[in-house]
Each structure stands twice: as structure tokens, then as C-alpha cells.
Symmetry: C2
Subunit: 187 residues, 2 copies
């Protein structure tokens, strides 16, 4: 295994997913991950800021999808509906890798540090969504509320999707947004 094997980052992600899944996040050392990837601990930290981040690589793509979906919604679309459409698009993406999502979520759910990291990633999504809404002329507070409410819906629908094996995730998202509307209306 020479020094110059390609795709070091991908190998590290792969090794980390395997080890976190096999023996758990806490019981896995960074040295072990690096070793399985044929690299050193120091190199791991050149690719990822910390031991958690290796599980969240690729989150940027999802964020871009959310933002562009909001940006491309018709001007007449209400903020909450633009957000809903964005999450429907995200759900369609995630649905293509359901098994991967399930494994990843099982790892994250089993560890508090990883849950913390996931929450701050979702918060970053909310912030980006709110910015995208403001670009559409939505007022500050309304933009933040629509974005955060959207994240809330997504979190709940995501868990539900993985738990029930519901085949159509985008539809589940739609239904969950409808239920949010009902709840907010005081039903």
C-alpha cells in the first residue's frame, strides 16, 4: 500500500463507517481508522477537523440542494412552501441511498457527541435556508421561523422514514408539512 494510493479521503470515510458500525464510535480510535485506510493518524486530521467530521462529509451537497431549491421556487410561493419543496428534493436524494442513510443514522443515534454534531449541521442548514429566503424578500424573523420549522419537520419525518420503511420519503415530507400546518393552526 504505497504512499500515493488515490482517494485517501474516501478510504478514511469508508474505514470510519465500518469501524464505528462494528465496535461503536467511542471504542474506535483515529489511529485504527487511519490504519485500516493505509494512512497515519496525522493524515486523518489533515482531511477531517476531528473524529466526528468524517461522518458528515457530503453534507455540503445537501445544503446546496436545499438552498438552490428555495432559490428556484416560483416568486409567488409562500416561504413555508418553498422550504417544503426544498426538503422534498432533499428527501428524493436521500431515498436513493436508504440503506446508507440507515446505517449512518444508527451510528449517530448511538452516540451523544455525534448527535451534537448532527444538530449543528442541521442548524447550518437552517441558517442557509433562512438566508435563501431573505434573498427572496422574506422578512428576517419569518425567514428564520420558516427555516427552523422546516428543519423540525425534516428531523421528525426522517426518523419516521427510517423507522417505518415508508417507501416514498418525499410524500412523507409533504404530509409532515401538512401536519405542521394543522398543529400550528391549533388543531
Amino acid at each position: 500500500m504505497g504512499r500515493w494510493e488515490p482517494n485517501a479521503r474516501g478510504r478514511l470515510v469508508q474505514a470510519a463507517m465500518e469501524l464505528y458500525g462494528e465496535r461503536g464510535y467511542e471504542q474506535t480510535t483515529v489511529a485504527e481508522i487511519a490504519n485500516r485506510a493505509g494512512l497515519t493518524e496525522r493524515t486523518f486530521f489533515r482531511h477531517f477537523a476531528d473524529k466526528r467530521e468524517v461522518l458528515f462529509w457530503g453534507g455540503g451537497a445537501l445544503q446546496e440542494l436545499l438552498v438552490s431549491s428555495v432559490a428556484e421556487a416560483p416568486a409567488s410561493t409562500a416561504p413555508i412552501d418553498a422550504v417544503a419543496a426544498a426538503f422534498e428534493a432533499a428527501a428524493a436524494q436521500l431515498q436513493e441511498r436508504r440503506e446508507h442513510s440507515r446505517q449512518r443514522q444508527a451510528i449517530i443515534a448511538a452516540n451523544a457527541e455525534l448527535r451534537e454534531r448532527e444538530l449543528i449541521k442541521l442548524e447550518s442548514f437552517a441558517s442557509a435556508l433562512a438566508d435563501a429566503l431573505r434573498l427572496r424578500g422574506v422578512a428576517d424573523t419569518a425567514a428564520s421561523l420558516a427555516a427552523e420549522a422546516g428543519i423540525a419537520v425534516f428531523k421528525i419525518a426522517f426518523v419516521h422514514w427510517l423507522a417505518t420503511g415508508q417507501p416514498d420519503f418525499p410524500q412523507l415530507i409533504r404530509e409532515s408539512f401538512d401536519e405542521l400546518k394543522a398543529v400550528a393552526a391549533g388543531k
Copy 2:
């Protein structure tokens, strides 16, 4: 400073707040906190699970207030309104220590690890609120949605309260819930 000075935990919290405020969270070592409190590093970790937790002591009281508020709401109150009432009560509590809230929030906002910890504490609030709603007979998804939406409103209103110096935090909470209702209705 003898071994048996009272209120070790309180002294650690005090010392940590001071040092985090003076030189920042990352630039403060646990040994320094313990030293300022007249204790050792080992004792710090007997009182707090980690370096972050020292800033979140007392969060349990707020959670209990939220839960009991929901539990005590009239049976006819809609879930979202029970949640709103709970956060109004919490806001009234926080308002009594506005300056403390401001300093604490400034420290947290300055550091990603602390923001992560805060988010998981809020998630814990959401979970407890959802449980309290289920005890009232609210359906699973609706309970989770009302709780998470409430947290979303609170997060936004809290920042707004500290940023604007608005005197009446509970009223700000009420207005923010109204705005959520408008946003969710597609306004």
C-alpha cells in the same frame, strides 16, 4: 483555602464563567478553572461530565418548568398553545437574570463546541415537551412537531430578546408564536 470550603460546584461554575468570558473557552484549561475555584482538575470532573457541561448547570430546572407548564395547561388547550404557554413561563424566569443570560449566551455563541452542547440541551427540552404532550393524549407526530416548533420559536425569540433589549420577553414569545402561525399558514 481549606479542603472543605462549601459550594464547590458553584465556585467551579463561577470560575468557569469568568475565565471563559475573560480569555475565551478554548484558551481556558480545566486546571485553571479548578485552580481559581481552589480545587483540582480531578474534582472538576467529579462535578461536571466535561468542560462544556459547567455552563449548562441549571438547565434541568428550566426543563422541569416547561414540562410542568404543559402538564398544567387546561385540557382544552391546543398542543401548540400549551407549548407557547410553557415558553412564556420560561421567558419570565429568564427575564429575571437578563444580564447573566446575555453573558452566558455571548460565551456560547463564540464557540462551536458550546453551540453544539446548547443544541442538544434544547433537543432534550423538545423531547421532554413532546412526552408531556403525549401524556395529554396528543398523537405522536403532532406532539413532536409542536415541541420542535416551540423550540424553534424560542431559539429565534431568545436571540431577538438579547439583541434588541426588548423589555418584555414573554410578550415577545407570544408574538413569535403568532408569527409562526402566520408563516405555517403560508402567509
